[in-house]
Amino acid sequence: MENALRLLVRSLVRDPDAVRIERHDEGKRLLFVVCVAPEDVGRVVGRGGRIAKSLRTLMRTVGEREGHQVVVEVK
């Protein structure tokens, strides 16, 4: 799941090697913190936050399949 998220984030940024995904298991809740190069933050947030929202929506559905309540944050 983490790898699928990393793949998408890497495809969105200019500096894919700077992409890091932190995973925090909090019981049923699973938090992914997406860290990218400072100049790439806008590319992962998107206009009006649409990219970040899409990442959240997508990963929520992917997580449900494995019984996780997935939350994605962009840092």
Partner: protein, 204 residues
């Protein structure tokens, strides 16, 4: 995905080398990516002249890059899929076959999200829109919406009362509007704010 063919060609000028590459690859200049391997020199009286040598290959299209990203995404989730790419005037369609009930809950919101992310990742050159379908969802939804729109149209015609449909995304509202256009005595419009925008069908 098929291997991208790469060729090396020579020419007395850069232009000539590129034209040869075009011919050999059967592609237009803007579809070709060129790396200069050796800069040519005109020389004197045929002495000390050196041809231009270039490496050329066909660029991957937006559709191919999108399909590869979709394939890789599902592969990371343990599903081996072979997306197909097709084009019409304005759209690049990427379709994935298989059983994807888990992916399509809440009206395919994950599908819309993935479509948006893939389009953002590959860039929308030339204004081509990417339409992603998984498990035949969009096709089935279109058929169901067209049927519903015709039923609503008949009802509004008979009763004269306007009908407010359930909220749906822009792509689905467009399907309703296009069906209603077939009824000269009816009209449709959207009301409300996203994501609760609803189509209203009424008599003219």
């Amino acid at each position: 995905m098929e291997e991208l063919e790469e060729i090396e060609v020579e020419g007395q000028t850069l232009e000539e080398a590129k034209l040869r590459a075009e011919g050999r690859l059967g592609a237009l200049m803007e579809e070709i990516e060129v790396t200069v391997l050796q800069e040519g020199k005109p020389g004197m009286l045929g002495l000390f002249s050196r041809p231009w040598r270039i490496r050329a290959r066909r660029k991957e299209s937006v559709g191919e890059r999108a399909a590869e990203l979709v394939r890789a995404f599902f592969a990371e989730l343990g599903s081996d899929v072979q997306p197909t790419v097709s084009r019409d005037a304005e759209h690049v369609h990427i379709s994935v076959d298989g059983e994807f009930g888990w992916f399509l809950r809440r009206r395919g919101e994950a599908l819309d999200a993935l479509q948006y992310l893939v389009a953002a990742a590959v860039g929308k050159k030339g204004g081509e829109r990417i339409i992603l379908d998984v498990g035949g969802y969009r096709e089935a939804r279109r058929t169901a919406l067209e049927k519903m729109a015709r039923e609503v149209a008949e009802r509004v015609r008979e009763s004269g009362q306007e009908s407010v449909l359930e909220a749906m995304p822009a792509s689905e509202r467009r399907i309703i509007h296009s069906v209603i256009q077939d009824y000269p005595d009816l009209q449709s419009q959207s009301r409300g704010e996203e994501p609760h925008r609803q189509v209203v069908v009424q008599k003219r």
